[in-house]
Structure formats: structure tokens, C-alpha cells
Amino acid sequence: MIAVFGLVLGVLAGLWLEPSIPAALQPYLPIAVVAALDAVFGGLRAHLDGIFDDKVFVISFVSNVLIAALIVYLGDQLGVGGQLSTGVIVVLGIRIFSNVAAIRRHVFHA
């Protein structure tokens, strides 16, 4: 419950306060969001499986975001930023789909 409250509060704060992100970090925000989404759905699934752990969640979230941004940054420096972004999105998208499918099985038992 507190978690959902924190999420909503964060979204509202982002929309209202409009904090400015450094221009250098701006290209990596979308990919970081997708990576974070993967961590969040993974946590949600673990929660439904009854094996959720705060420490694992925090570490997986932070490492996901940092690694995704780092890969894209590396790709930008090598001139394959677009392609690497696509690769990261594909892998994370597959994981998100699978996790959401598992969550769906938990919720609807189907």
C-alpha cells in the first residue's frame, strides 16, 4: 500500500514540479524508465509469489537503470546507440511481457 502511494506521489511530483533533468542525461531517461519498469514488474511478481525482498528489489532496480543507461551511452560513443537501444528494449520488453504474464496467472488464476 505504501509502495503504491509512493509510486503515485512520484508521478504527481514529476508532472507538477517539472524538475529539469540535465541535458546530458535526457536521452537516457526513456531507456532508464523501461529498465525500471522491468525491475518493478519483477518485484511485483516476486511479491505475488510471496518471495519479495526489499533489498533485492532496490538493488535490482538501481542496477537495471544504471546498466541500461550505461549500455546506451556506450552505444552512443561507438556509433551504434540506436541499435543498442533497440536491443535493450527488446530484451527488457520480453522480460516485462513474461513477468506480466506470470502476474496475470496469479491474479486471474488463468
Binding site: 514529476g14 526513456p30 516476486a46 506470470a102
Partner: protein, 285 residues
């Protein structure tokens, strides 16, 4: 080394954790849950301890951060949309206006190349006219005597006998020269000059005092008459004329020098006077 796949059989290797080796894509699609959750859950079962509360705060903070990122990303995309759309519209507008310009310029190009073609045809026609007129002018100039000419022809040298008439010698008269020049015309001469004076329709050969004048300029014997024409036939034709016969008589009876020589090249000057003094073309102003 035992961890490596057996190449000869292609059997999947088994790793230390006991999981069957699977392809990367299969692994991505099947192992979606972080292994750590399971590991931690197993450890917790054995030790039966809850995670410390500071990690719970961390989880909430992370979720807050996630919400913030989500909101910001959505905001960014929404803010960029009108900008992108405006840029796109502007580009389309530019393309259309430039396309219009291009069409205009292509039409101009087509009309200009049509014009060029017409002008080229006109130029060709003018050049042809010009050549024709130049040819006409040249032949007219030769006929009228205004153009200097060179070509094959004959050279006639005549001279007084050197002693007076009474002593059965002779002096060439203006009428004799007139006859000779006319005989040359008759023999087919195209242009004639007497001592470098071009014979034109207005040239007079006169006797003034003791000397023969051509074009009002006095000459002294011997007189050299040059004429362009066929060098093979002209001497014979000249002698066949009545004047030619008369000159042969003069040569025989009065010891006057009369020499006709065919030449490969004679040069005949033009007459500087190239305009008529009195006559005017009918219709010309």
C-alpha cells in the same frame, strides 16, 4: 573444461547450479524473475528473518524515484510532441514551396531552351545569309573593280618603238591602249590593270599632251597591262580579236613592242573609289 559443451554430441552442458544450459534467447524468455529473489527466499526460510526496515524505506524511495522518472518521461514526450509536429509541418511546407520553385524554374528552363533553339536557328540562317551576301559582295567587288584580286592570267607589255613616226617608228596612242584593253575584255579577262591602275567602268584612258593618262594619272612607256583569266586560252583569243590583229600590224609595221606572256599569278590592285558619284539605286533613299 568440463563446463564446456560436448561438441561431438551437441549435448547441453550442465553448469554448477544444476540448471540445464539453454540458449540466450530462451534464457531471456524463461528466466524472467531475478534469481536473487529465490536465493534470498531460500536463505530466509532457513534463517527465518525479515529484511531490515531501512531496506523497506529504500524500496519506497525507489518507487518514488520510479514514479518521478515515469512522470518526467511522459512530460518530456508530451512537450516534444508539438515541437516535433511543428518541425515536421515546417519541413513539409519547405518541401512544397521548394517543389513549386523547382517547377517554376523547370518551366523557365524549358521556355529558355526553346528560345535558345529558335535563336540558334535564326543565327544559322543569318550566317548562311551572311555567307551568301559576302560571296555576292566579293563577286560584285571583282566586277566593279573595288577589290584587289590575284590569280592566273596574262601580262601584256607594250612599248613605243623608240623613234619618231616619220622614221617609220611609232608612239602608242590612247586609242591603241583602249583597243587593247577592250580586246582583253573580249578575250575573257575578269580584271585588268594598266600600270597598276585598275580598269573599272569609270576608268578613262586619255591622251593629254605628250603622255597617256589612265584615271587622270600620266603613264610612261613601257606600259604593262595585267589581266586575270585563263592563261592557256587568253593569249590566243586576244590575238584573234580585231584589236589583237591591229596590234600585230603595229608591231610588224612600226616596230612597236607587243609581248603577251601567260602567267601563273598576276596581282591586280583595287580601285579605291568605291562609291558612285551621281547614280543612285532606284528606290533607295
Amino acid at each position: 573444461m568440463s563446463d564446456k559443451p560436448d561438441l561431438s554430441t551437441g549435448e547441453p552442458r550442465s553448469d554448477s547450479s544444476g540448471d540445464a544450459y539453454v540458449g540466450l534467447l530462451t534464457q531471456i524468455m524463461t528466466q524472467t524473475l531475478d534469481q536473487d529473489y529465490l536465493d534470498v527466499a531460500q536463505r530466509r526460510e532457513s534463517s527465518s528473518g525479515d529484511s531490515p526496515p531501512r531496506w523497506q524505506v529504500g524500496a519506497v524511495a525507489v518507487l518514488l524515484l520510479f514514479g518521478l522518472m515515469l512522470g518526467l518521461a511522459a512530460l518530456n514526450t508530451a512537450q516534444e510532441k508539438p515541437v516535433v509536429a511543428a518541425e515536421r509541418a515546417e519541413l513539409i511546407e519547405q518541401i512544397e514551396s521548394n517543389q513549386g520553385k523547382l517547377d517554376n524554374q523547370q518551366a523557365t528552363l524549358a521556355s529558355l531552351s526553346d528560345e535558345v533553339t529558335k535563336l540558334q536557328q535564326l543565327l544559322a540562317a543569318n550566317v548562311a545569309d551572311d555567307r551568301l551576301l559576302t560571296n555576292q559582295l566579293t563577286s560584285l567587288g571583282i566586277d566593279a573593280g573595288t577589290l584587289a584580286v590575284t590569280g592566273p592570267g596574262v601580262e601584256v607589255t607594250v612599248d613605243d618603238s623608240g623613234y619618231s613616226v616619220g622614221e617609220s617608228g611609232g608612239v602608242i596612242l590612247d586609242s591603241d591602249l583602249q583597243l587593247l584593253v577592250n580586246a582583253l575584255w573580249q578575250a575573257g579577262a575578269e580584271a585588268i590593270a594598266v600600270d597598276e591602275h585598275r580598269m573599272t567602268t569609270l576608268t578613262a584612258i586619255r591622251f593629254a599632251g605628250e603622255a597617256i593618262t589612265v584615271d587622270y594619272r600620266s603613264l610612261t612607256p613601257p606600259y604593262i597591262i595585267e589581266a586575270t583569266g585563263d592563261p592557256d586560252t587568253m593569249p590566243a583569243r586576244l590575238l584573234e580579236t580585231r584589236a589583237g590583229q591591229a596590234w600585230l600590224d603595229l608591231e610588224a609595221n612600226f616596230d612597236i613592242q607587243f609581248e603577251v606572256v601567260a602567267k601563273d599569278k598576276v596581282s591586280i590592285p583595287g580601285d579605291a573609289r568605291d562609291n558612285l558619284l551621281y547614280a543612285e539605286a532606284k528606290g533607295a533613299s
